[in-house]
């Protein structure tokens, strides 16, 4: 039992830790270099032009604030010795800072621990503006075995560049554990072709003036001079917003893992019940001796508490270990869908440990409550009862309660989600509905035992074993009901997850099939994540698109923007030749002619919006959306809604011409090519790959293969949880059967005396267990369909704004069902065989 609690607590804890580590591995700023900034200045959209710097400097006047301009990008890292055609390269952040300016920051941070201080000691020359020199964080140095003087190649946008390592930065407690490269700012500007741009400016205050009136004064003067050009933020606010973006994802993960604990709860309940029953005479004696109810209750609860504490303790250890394993998976998912995150280990977090441990203890106490009450209420006389009386969990005696819960569940599904602005929407009511359905179905089906028995009575059976087995269902004990309920729960959850995953896969494949129609796809190497900054420059894609083997090309452009203070994307497509029609998967198609490239007479622009954008912000066809671009505010009118599973932030699509005009940038994120008839795809791909080593060029077949792989990786977590659920359920059945056998040892002895063979008894137990499993399975499957519906149409839609199609994997479910039925029956039979050898007690 301790192990069960440990498993449940452990899985919950490890998910929480992994999620937390992955989300917080989000190194927002160049903090690793500055050691912590006090304010951040950035534009509301797009990049900060260096042309604004003089005004900025003047605004700051003589305020004692150090300003560190930062340019950030992501690059792919090609390691020495790795094959040039490697598809996957690690993505790293590349930070450009004024290497000289940053050294001055150390004088503001009196502790001398700023990594910046290490940028060349006095007397050592700094290579200013040197295009070849790069500094590595200690993580990168360790992970990739690169040291001072070493060489490396990075893919900047679409081109590889060769750099040499100037130095390795020392490790620093604060933020120094990330993976990143540092270059002198002007060098990085030239390297990325962004000579006149910055990303943001970090402001560092003197140690003694932090957190005082200087903050307000700086904000005031800067905002006064801003004229709408820039905003000032605190690092904490930015970090919180980044955390909240992944809140929904992490919340969902946590809930799923805590449901595993719930199943374990049932198991413990059963086991504790059995305990009470077994020690009935002991309890009776205690009562005879005068023990009070309260004392009995207390001592049984104390046992449950001990179980909870020990189990939770063990669970925390297991969970911590598990988190290390899990963190890669979670971090990978977050990186792919949200933002680049670097994390090596999941750190211990006291708060999460407390939460997980507390949940484990509470669950144990909850599981122990009913049996403890049972024990306490045992009349002394019962102590000497040979026949176990019909005690047990009263809850399961009320099928009406079950029906009521189902109704409540349905009602809950109609409630809207809890939102935190537009950033995160948590389907709390959806989860509560799921719990209601879970418990309701469990109660209902356990009440169906006698019905099932009556139906089967006719079948009666020639075999005495069968008759004996079936006879137990006439008046099912609390234990039977509990077992059925537990099975319904476990099977329901497991099958529900299988259903959800299958639906997701079917939907996504359908989407992929309709959108991935091109022959060849290109993306900068190392650009795997939603926040990657690498781009395919215009001259590069124009050259590629004009290749004689290419029939048509589609370029995707996109820039992160904010709408209603929430991060989202503004995208566009270029089709070459221009006449090629667009292809979208419409959720709501445009109702009339569409022209994205020119504004309407009133100055509005037509746009398409993705489904998740519309759901998140409550927009529909015909609605207007005003966004801020570097060229000022633009009003967009939504004329079509499309499905896009690429990211959960949602996106708005405008014409390529306006987008390029507003952002001054026609570089592409991806390039898709359709080749002319008869052109061999693989040969073309290989040729282009060697011509453009900085690009990741995949054929359709290769891409599909990779997506398969991504699927497997991303959902490995849920599959593991599913396996735990099923194992726990079958274990529960086995435990229940064991308890039953123990209870019935006299009966079994009688049967033996009457001449029933061991095999006969085993067969009877197998039938009894099999039927219980069968009923539980049936209920579980029904529940899984319901849960699947809740997960897809309520929880998923509310969390992410997507519509998935409901697809039932009959084959997989049949396999799951058969597996449970067979194992359940076998386990029960085996327990029966064991039970047949128990010595009955003889009087005298």
């Amino acid at each position: 039992m301790v192990l069960i609690v440990a498993l449940g607590v452990g899985s919950f804890f490890s998910v929480r830790l992994a999620g937390r580590a992955a989300a917080s591995g989000f190194d927002l700023f160049a903090e690793a270099v500055t050691g912590g900034s006090d304010l951040v200045v950035e534009t509301r959209v797009g990049e900060f032009p260096t042309a604004w710097l003089p005004d900025f400097r003047e605004a700051l006047g003589s305020l004692p604030v150090k300003a560190v301009p930062v340019l950030e990008t992501t690059v792919g890292l090609v390691l020495p010795g790795s094959p040039g055609s490697a598809m996957d390269v690690p993505t790293l952040r590349m930070i450009g800072v004024d290497l000289l300016a940053v050294r001055n920051v150390a004088t503001y941070r009196g502790d001398g621990k700023t990594p910046a201080a290490s940028f060349a000691n006095p007397g050592e020359s700094i290579s200013l503006g040197n295009l070849d020199q790069v500094y590595l964080s200690s993580r990168v140095s360790r992970d990739h075995h690169l040291h001072r003087g070493g060489e490396l190649t990075v893919i900047v946008n679409d081109t590889p560049r060769h750099l040499s390592v100037a130095a390795v930065l020392p490790e620093d407690g604060s933020g120094g554990s990330g993976s990143f490269l540092v270059m002198d700012l002007p060098a990085l500007q030239r390297l990325t072709g962004r000579e006149d741009r910055l990303d943001h400016i970090e402001l560092v205050f003197p140690e003694s003036l932090r957190g005082g009136p200087l903050t307000e004064e700086v904000i005031r003067v800067l905002m006064a001079a801003s004229e709408g050009r820039w905003v000032v933020r605190t690092p904490d606010a930015e970090r919180a917003s980044a955390q909240s973006m992944t809140m929904a994802f992490r919340f969902n993960l946590s809930i799923l893992s805590s449901l595993a604990l719930l199943v374990g709860l049932f198991l413990i309940l059963q086991a504790l019940e059995a305990n009470v029953l077994r020690r009935r005479s002991e309890i009776g004696v205690l009562r005879m001796l005068g023990a009070e109810r309260r004392w009995l209750l207390g001592s049984w609860m104390a046992e449950a508490l001990t179980l909870g504490v020990v189990g939770s303790g063990l669970g925390l250890l297991l969970g911590f270990a598990g988190a290390q394993v899990m963190v890669r998976g979670v971090a990978g998912t977050i990186s792919s869908f949200y933002h680049q995150t670097t994390v090596s280990a999941a750190g211990w977090h006291g708060g999460e440990a407390l939460l997980a441990g507390w949940i484990g203890v509470v669950a144990s106490l909850a599981a122990g409550w009913l049996p403890a009450r049972d024990a306490a209420n045992t009349p002394p006389a019962h102590a000497f009862l040979r026949q176990p009386s019909r005690t047990g969990i009263r809850l399961l005696d009320h099928p009406m309660l079950g029906a009521g819960l189902l109704l409540a569940g349905w009602g809950l599904t109609r409630l809207p989600p809890v939102s935190f602005g537009y950033i995160a929407t948590l389907p709390v009511a959806g989860y509560l509905a799921a719990v209601a359905f879970l418990t309701g179905t469990g109660i209902l089906f356990s009440a169906l035992l006698p019905v099932a028995a009556r139906l089967l009575r006719g079948w009666g059976g020639k075999s005495p074993s069968a008759r004996y087995a079936l006879s137990h269902f006439r008046m099912p004990s609390g234990r039977h009901k509990l077992t059925v309920a537990g099975l319904v729960l476990a099977v329901g959850m497991a099958a529900g997850m299988v259903l959800l995953i299958h639906s997701f896969q079917v939907t996504l494949w359908g989407w992929i099939d309709r959108t991935l129609t091109a022959d060849v796809f290109m993306i900068p190497k190392g650009q795997q994540t939603a926040s990657g900054k690498q781009r395919i420059l215009e001259k590069t894609w124009r050259t590629i698109a004009s290749d004689p083997a290419v029939a048509s090309a589609e370029l995707r452009h996109g820039f992160p923007i904010e709408y209603a203070d929430t991060p989202t994307f503004l995208t566009a497509r270029t089709q070459l030749p221009v006449s090629t029609p667009f292809r979208h998967i419409w959720v709501e198609p445009p109702r009339s002619e569409v022209n994205l490239q020119s504004p309407t007479e009133s100055g509005q622009w037509q746009a398409f919006a993705s489904e998740s954008f519309c759901r998140r912000f409550g927009k529909g066809l015909g609605d207007e959306v005003t966004i801020l671009s570097p060229a000022g505010e633009k009003t967009l009118r939504i004329v079509g809604m499309f499905a896009d599973y690429g990211n959960e932030r949602g996106s708005v699509e405008v014409g390529a011409d306006p987008l390029a005009a507003w952002f001054g940038d026609r570089s592409a994120i991806t390039v898709s090519l359709v080749l002319r008839d008869g052109v061999p795809v693989e040969a073309f791909r290989t040729r282009l790959q060697s011509e453009y080593p900085g690009l990741n060029i995949r054929s359709q077949a290769l891409l599909r293969e990779e997506i398969h792989r991504l699927f497997r990786d991303t959902f490995s977590i849920t599959l593991a949880l599913q396996a735990i659920g099923v194992t726990v359920a079958v274990a529960g059945l086995g435990l229940a059967m064991i308890s039953l056998m123990l209870e019935r040892r006299r009966e079994l002895a009688v049967l033996r005396e009457l001449g029933m063979t061991r095999r006969g008894i085993a067969g009877s137990a197998a039938l009894e267990g099999g039927l219980t499993a069968g009923l539980g399975l049936l209920g579980g499957l029904v529940l899984s369909f319901i849960l699947g519906w809740v997960l897809i149409f309520v929880i998923n839609r509310q969390s992410f704004g997507w519509t998935l199609s409901y697809a039932v994997p009959w084959g997989r479910l049949a396999l799951l069902g058969a597996g449970i039925l067979v194992t359940g029956t076998l386990v029960s039979g085996w327990v029966g065989h064991w039970g047949a050898s128990l010595k009955g007690e003889r009087e005298g």
Binding site: P64, D98, L100, R103
Partner: protein, 371 residues
């Protein structure tokens, strides 16, 4: 096209500057006689020269009688000859170093901060006018040659003062051409405001204090300050209550003897009263102070014996530092030096003036840095 014009303009400026300057082997201009200064143009930067500084020291007094000493120095150091001024916000041609120090006499506290920036958006020294910037420190000059100095030392000190010349600027050496060594390049152009009246505000640890006082400003332009044999210098600016000033520097050689180019100059209200060589004055330290941070052993508390142009007799002045520990440790530059506010005492021990004393080359290798 634009770049081409810029290039010509700079070359033009450089050309005109180089017409009056020599060119070192590295390609930098070096100071030559007859600099033919034009103001306000030559208050500004001379980027074709390797090293340039604008250097302020002074004494501040609050109404309560509380006293402070301050130093603010803006250095320019050229990385490449050719004198291209920054075209980008993050240049790679010039380095701007700056120091700011404050001596709190009552509290016996010495605070200082060093900066090192590249030329660009937040550090510059403009050509053609006096406009200096290093982060949030700045100096500007108005038409009447009044300068506004704004500075800070981390979170503890803020300074916002106006410095108005009480007498015309002085050109040291020969019309501003000052020899420092035997080599032809070991020279500088040297412009000084020996008497500036200071008024403004000092914020010291949160307390805003209106202050007045007097200051001294040096502007030196050169490409090499020291000969190979020279290890450093001792320098003092003395402002006597009778209105006269003395500027004295001792160039120390490896064998500790003063270089022949060491100078002592008396300045009156109308200008230079006279200049003397090392054989005419003596500079003796009464005691030494060892820096716990750099290990430098500084000879502080100077006994200066010098001829007085008014009468010709020798005088003894004591330059007594208000506190011993006034060293800037050179975190960013690698060159520590001592720069301290002092009282000038006569032989009877009466205070007859204020001075600032600078001692360099007692720790680290100054010669390397200067060449």
């Amino acid at each position: 096209m634009k770049r081409g014009i810029m290039f010509l303009v700079i070359m033009g400026v450089g050309l005109s500057a180089s017409l009056r300057a020599g060119v070192t082997a590295d390609g930098f201009a070096y100071a030559t006689p007859n600099p033919s200064f034009q103001f306000p143009r030559d208050h500004g930067s001379h980027p074709e020269f390797r090293i340039e500084w604008w250097y302020y020291t002074g004494h501040l007094f609050a109404a309560s009688g509380r006293r402070f000493g301050f130093e603010a120095t803006f250095f320019r150091y050229a990385l490449h000859p050719g004198g291209d001024h920054a075209e980008s916000a993050f240049g790679t041609n010039q380095l701007y170093m700056a120091h700011m120090a404050l001596t709190d006499v009552e509290g016996q506290t010495f605070l200082y901060e060093e900066r090192l920036h590249r030329d660009g958006w937040e550090a510059w020294a403009k050509e053609g006018e006096l406009d200096l910037r290093n982060g949030n420190w700045s100096v500007t000059m108005s038409e009447d040659e009044t300068m506004t100095l704004k500075g800070s030392i981390r979170g503890e000190v803020r300074l916002d003062v106006r410095l108005a010349p009480q007498q015309d600027k002085v050109l040291f050496g020969d019309q501003g051409y000052s020899r420092k060594g035997d080599a032809v390049e070991a020279a500088s152009w040297y412009i000084t405001f020996p008497r500036l009246e200071v008024a403004g505000e000092l914020t010291f640890r949160g307390e805003v204090i209106p202050v007045t006082g007097q200051a001294w400003m040096d502007h030196e332009i050169s490409s090499s300050q020291l000969d190979p044999d020279q290890v450093g210098w001792d320098w003092a600016s003395i402002q006597l209550d009778d209105g006269r000033s003395v500027m004295v520097y001792l160039l120390r050689q490896k064998d500790s003897t003063p270089d022949v180019h060491s100078r002592l100059t008396w300045i009156g209200a109308e200008g230079i009263l006279g200049a003397w060589g090392p054989s005419d004055f003596s500079w003796t330290a009464r005691e030494t102070w060892t820096s716990p941070e750099t290990g430098g052993v500084y000879p502080v508390d100077i006994d200066l014996v010098l001829p007085d142009p008014d009468g010709g007799a020798a005088r003894r002045l004591r330059l007594k530092p208000v506190m011993a520990a006034q060293e800037l440790t050179g975190q960013l530059s690698g060159v520590p030096y001592w720069e301290g506010a002092c009282d000038v005492l006569d032989e009877a021990g009466t205070r007859i003036g204020y001075a600032y004393v600078e001692l360099t080359g007692y720790a680290g290798d100054l010669g390397e840095a200067m060449r």
